[in-house]
């Protein structure tokens, strides 16, 4: 891959993306249009995140990629390999060791610290899109802070189901101004968005938008006084590490309804197991 520039993109393109990132950081939650490039992986597979990572990456960085919380899912492997080949940066699976973390659908369980950058892959950056598909309209709604439609939708959920029927991709309001799509993270992760020490960058390649949350930004999940937001998760401990407060994947273990719950954040789970924590179905323990 020596024919390509460091981290694949040419410097002019990176400069253009960095400008969009800076603008995004200056106006938290605002979607900045940028001239997204075709990447050698398909749209919808993290091209926005990859472009943002490429634009912020330096040769000294240590890079981590997770998909569904795991470092070893196929697309996470593919993106990590891409940067190993095109940028030659060091990679890691340890959340605390990484300086840049690209993620799809999760925020790591471990608290991030200052100096770290969390890059989200975003499929649909526009939180209002499913209420109003026209971008020309949604842009107006954002500029006029006209978010009534969103509240009506949430209210209709409550009147129909008794709950807000959104379990992931749950909309938030940033610094009391922009309603923002947090990407399809489970709403369990929403409370981590606010007041985070790390920089959070959101890249939507196909939709050509970048937005950002600077460190320690106020992020509030939309709700009503009588129906407050609730970060939910499966009501079990992790079967491998026993964690009570981490987000869990459900794994089907046989064809007679057997199932177990394990941490979706593999690094978190492994670190806990290494520290001697164990769950009910951990093989080492059962043996």
């Amino acid at each position: 891959m020596s024919d390509y520039n460091f981290a694949y993109l040419d410097e002019q393109t990176k400069r253009m993306i960095r400008r969009a990132i800076l603008k995004g950081l200056a106006i938290p939650g605002y979607q900045v249009p940028f001239a997204s490039r075709e990447m050698p992986m398909p749209y919808g597979w993290g091209t926005g995140g990859v472009q943002v990572s490429a634009a912020v990456m330096t040769p000294d960085d240590r890079f981590k990629v997770i998909d569904q919380g795991a470092d070893d899912t196929t697309n996470a492997v593919s993106i990590r390999t891409f940067f190993e080949r095109t940028a030659g940066v060091a990679t890691t699976t340890k959340t605390s060791e990484a300086s840049v973390i690209q993620t799809r659908h999760r925020i790591p369980e471990e608290r991030l610290s200052e100096g770290q950058i969390l890059v989200y892959q975003v499929p649909i950056p526009e939180p209002l899109q499913f209420l109003e598909p026209r971008e020309s309209e949604t842009r107006k709604m954002h500029s006029l802070e006209e978010y009534g439609l969103m509240h009506v939708k949430l209210y209709e959920d409550i009147s129909r189901h008794g709950h807000i029927a959104t379990s992931y991709d749950y909309p938030v309001k940033v610094e009391g101004r922009y309603v923002m799509d947090p990407s399809p993270i489970p709403k369990f992760d929403n409370p981590k968005l606010g007041d985070m020490a790390a920089i959070q960058l959101f890249g939507a390649g196909r939709e050509q938008r970048i937005y950002a949350l600077p460190p320690y930004t106020q992020v509030v999940s939309l709700d009503f006084e009588d129906h407050p937001f609730e970060a939910s998760k499966p009501d079990h401990p992790c079967a491998m590490c026993g964690a009570e407060n981490s987000y869990l994947d459900e794994v089907i273990t046989d064809d007679t309804g057997g199932r177990m719950f394990v941490c979706s954040d593999t690094d978190f789970c492994e670190a806990r197991q290494a520290a001697g924590n164990t769950g009910t179905m951990n093989g080492r323990d059962a043996a």
């Binding site: 390509y4 749209y43 070893d72 697309n75 939910s232 987000y247 994947d249």
Partner: protein, 362 residues
Amino acid sequence: MYVAVKGGERAIENAHAWLVEERRGDTSVSELNIAQIREQLALAVNRVMAEGSLYDPDLAALAIKQARGDLIEAIFLIRAYRTTLPRFGASLPIDTGRMACDRRISATFKDLPGGQVLGPTFDYTHRLLDFKLAAEGEVPEAATREATPGDVPHVAEFLNHGGLIEEARHNDTTPPDLTREPLEMPAERSLRLQALTRADEGFTLGMAYSTQRGYARNHAFVGELRIGAVPVEMDIPELGFSIEIGEVTLTECETVNQFTGSKSEPPQFTRGYGLVFGQTERKAISMALVDRALRWEELGEEDEGAPAQDAEFVLYHADNIQATGFLEHIKLPHYVDFQAELELVRKLREEAGANTAREAAE
């Protein structure tokens, strides 16, 4: 027993190796080479160049081979390659009036300056499988004649002399560049045409067809369709003048559409325009129809709410690389979101069950 899902890296490597093997197929059959694809599957090559937005028949042929004949995959390879190429500058606008036409037909005039030239077309072939092609053999030579020298004037200009067709307003401003700036609405015509020329052929065809069937009906005559090579010139700053740097084969279609006049325009014919790399006439005609449908606003026509009139709908869904990527991404794991939905549905069902039980008890 649960085994932590590991081995993504090896799975990918093995899948790639298998793919390479499948691409080659039965090794007792001789391997395709790039020149064969370029020469014998030229229309596939043309489509890949057009929608890949890169005029290079050899690279397009390579992409088709690498993609095992999946043209959208091949287009993707070309797009991803194109985006890494440095830009030396922009060519001067090409002049399709100077085209060396292989084909030039008009459906509006029986005869006209420049003549009707059918060229290498499927149009009047009977679609009968030619079993002789299954055997390899020599091809009989086609008849030839001297090319008529000189430029071939555009049909629309004949109509323009009498003011019967809308004036195509001359505009010297540099058009926006879809590949360097994000697509934003409302999109002016030059931007719409850029998006349409690289748009998916099937999507464009479907949109165009819908206008013929009454969704924003605007009957189109093919005023002219021409296919041929045009020279590409570029200003070289060091030289201080422009030189010809090569030529590209293009398909250009100009439609003449009915128009009865509106509050702002007198009755006259209107235009739709299509221009596409290579011999790609289905695409060029479709593009012209969709272009015309999208012009309803500037021509003071009514918004019928038809899909082909809706620039946001058409332009945001016409790119097959965007579409296929997003469509196929649903193959990626979604455990986390699905888990969240599972929890929610279980909770809602539990509550519904409790309510029913309570009502039954009452």
